[in-house]
């Protein structure tokens, strides 16, 4: 299964090169260093809030995972920069990725 198949099922995975172990983000089938194939790492990954703002009642946050890559996720509670968070929900809705953190 690829990253999107897992994400459709609500699973957040991280692509890693099968050969040199580099984390590849955005998700891709191939490593951009050694050009070998990637595989998906599963787990409860921790992220760190880098910056955030708020629209209506929801916060949207730039979150960094494994000190390597960042994505924008929404959060219900007021975040703080540097706060350690986890993915609560994720998926693909009408073709658009979504990530919610707690």
């Amino acid at each position: 299964m690829n990253f999107e198949d897992e994400l459709t099922r609500g699973n957040f995975t991280i692509p890693e090169c099968t050969s040199c172990k580099k984390i590849i983000w955005p998700p891709s089938e191939f490593c951009d260093v050694c050009y070998n194939e990637t595989c998906l790492k599963s787990g409860q990954f921790s992220g760190k809030i880098i910056e955030y703002s708020k629209q209506n009642d929801e916060y949207f946050c730039v979150v960094e995972f494994l000190d390597t890559f960042r994505l924008i996720a929404k959060m219900k509670e007021k975040p703080e920069n540097g706060q350690i968070v986890k993915i609560l929900k994720c998926g693909i809705l009408n073709g658009t990725y979504f990530f919610q953190i707690i």
Binding site: P26, E51, S53, Q55, F60, V62, F69, R70, I72
Partner: protein, 369 residues
């Protein structure tokens, strides 16, 4: 490298009107030919169309509409900096000797698909540019102790300057209070902090040194070009309060022109949102890091039009594919002393800064008399 000059231009008013992309392209190009009757259009070797529109084969269509058969014809898309990217391509065709005269026409409709970068899934459901602009604003304000009132001055200044540009979308001036009381899009962004999508076109004609001197007595030379792409995705920006690609592009352009930033008399800056103007001024070296707003306030208070004399993207509107071309035309007009009631006093060197997708790529041009 062979010298390349800008020898003519034409543009349309930026509006909210529902016009076909082909009509906008035809309109600005027709304007160019109408106001530069000395140009023999049959000598045009290349036609480059700058747009994010989904219509196909637009450069061949434009060529047919204006009655020419160029050797080279194709479109160029790079989101918001398509315009200056097209000018760089035109420069390359001419300086390499592949072409002597190149027409660049940029056009966009108010509903451009270039406003959203669908590919950037790292933004999750927050793909609209207002979200990266909010994050930049929050980060910049916090890092440099800048208030919302401070940032609002960018919008006040640029709407004010746009009132002297009849082609600008904005027809009103605003106060800091107006900006702060405008619709709250997010906690860190108001409606009047944003440039607005609109319909508009801008055309420019570039030529080799020999051709330039034959066509006009006052060609404007492109003496410096700098470009940098750091990524496509917003979240790859390492810093959220500075513009890395702009810094690199600015340094390259000034080095090529053998100029330093203090010699630049007038500049068009890509103020897609209020916060972009101080960030870009700092990245280009017009002010020290964190001090861009001091410069902007000073210029505003003294009614000095040095930065964004045509009103910037906030005042003019932002028809993506036309913006970089329109910015370049403004600098040409300023250097030719033909910018009417927004003319600066005797500028010799001008600069254009045009960027895409949260400053993941930037193009900087240096122009001289």
């Amino acid at each position: 490298m062979n010298k390349v000059g800008i020898v003519g231009y034409g543009n349309t008013a930026f509006t909210k009107e529902d016009q076909k992309i082909e009509s906008i392209l035809h309109n600005c190009t027709n304007q160019l030919f109408k106001t530069n009757s000395e140009i023999n259009k049959n000598l045009i070797d290349a036609v480059l169309v700058s747009t994010n529109n989904n219509s196909k084969y637009l450069s061949a269509i434009l060529s047919e509409m204006v009655g020419i058969q160029p050797k080279i014809a194709h479109s160029i898309e790079s989101l918001c900096n398509s315009g200056t990217n097209s000018i760089v391509s035109a420069f390359s065709y001419i300086s390499s000797g592949l072409a002597d005269i190149v027409l660049v026409s940029g056009a966009e409709r108010y509903d451009s698909p270039g406003q959203i970068l669908e590919w950037d899934n790292s933004r999750g459901e927050f793909k609209h540019p207002i979200f990266w602009a909010s994050i930049f604003s929050k980060s910049y304000k916090q890092k440099f102790n800048i208030s919302e009132e401070d940032l609002a001055i960018v919008s006040v200044k640029n709407h004010k300057q746009a009132q002297k540009n009849p082609n600008a979308l904005s027809k009103k001036t605003y106060s800091v209070e107006d900006v702060l009381n405008s619709k709250k899009l997010t906690e860190d962004l108001r409606l009047l902090d944003c440039s607005r999508p609109c319909s508009g076109g801008a055309s420019i004609l570039l030529a080799s040194e020999e051709m330039s001197k034959k066509i006009t007595d006052e060609p404007i030379w492109i003496s410096g070009i700098g470009q940098k792409t750091t990524s496509a995705g917003f979240t790859k920006n390492e810093s959220l309060f500075s513009m890395t690609s702009t810094k690199h592009a600015g340094e390259s352009a000034l080095k090529m022109a053998n100029k330093n930033i203090s010699q630049v008399d007038v500049a068009e800056i890509h103020d897609a949102f209020s916060v972009c103007e101080p960030m870009a001024l700092e990245a280009l070296g017009f002010s020290k890091t964190g001090e861009g707003m001091n410069l902007i306030k000073k210029l505003h208070e003294t009614n000095n039009f040095k930065i964004n004399p045509r009103g910037g993207l906030i005042g003019c509107g932002h028809p993506l594919g036309a913006t970089g071309v329109s910015q370049t035309i403004e600098i040409v007009k300023q250097l030719q002393q033909s910018a009417d009631n927004r003319q600066l006093k005797d500028p010799e060197v001008g600069l254009v800064h045009n960027m895409s997708a949260a400053a993941t790529s930037s193009t900087v041009l240096v122009l001289e008399k």
